[in-house]
Symmetry: C2
Subunit: 70 residues, 2 copies
């Protein structure tokens, strides 16, 4: 299950450590979410989507429209 966490982070020129600190995670967790080794739960999924300002459907690669419709 490939997701878009990595490309979103790169676009923002963030480091895994910065994301980890911002979202209250450890750097290794960020790495595992990006590589797909682990999957984020609902709550964290929403935090990621908020953080990058995209829809969860986009985050998970279900759509190519990154927009979020509140």
């Amino acid at each position: 299950m490939q997701n878009r966490l990595r490309e979103l982070r790169k676009q923002n020129r963030y480091t895994q450590l910065k994301v980890a600190l911002d979202l209250n995670l450890s750097q290794n967790s960020v790495s595992r979410y990006e590589t797909g080794a682990h999957e984020a739960g609902y709550e964290l999924l929403i935090r990621f989507a908020d953080y990058y300002g995209v829809s969860i459907d986009y985050l998970l690669g279900r759509t190519d429209d990154p927009r979020y419709y509140p």
Copy 2:
């Protein structure tokens, strides 16, 4: 983490067992996802969203717009 799985199923007048058979799950799993006892992984989340024709953001209660923008 409350989701909208139950109301979507009700709207379609489906039974948990029907959903389980359609999505290749057990009835108890469907129950647990609806009550929030367990959380569905990415792949299943997408299957649920496709099944009900809504966005994942809606499924997880992040937005009130049920539409899915492919």
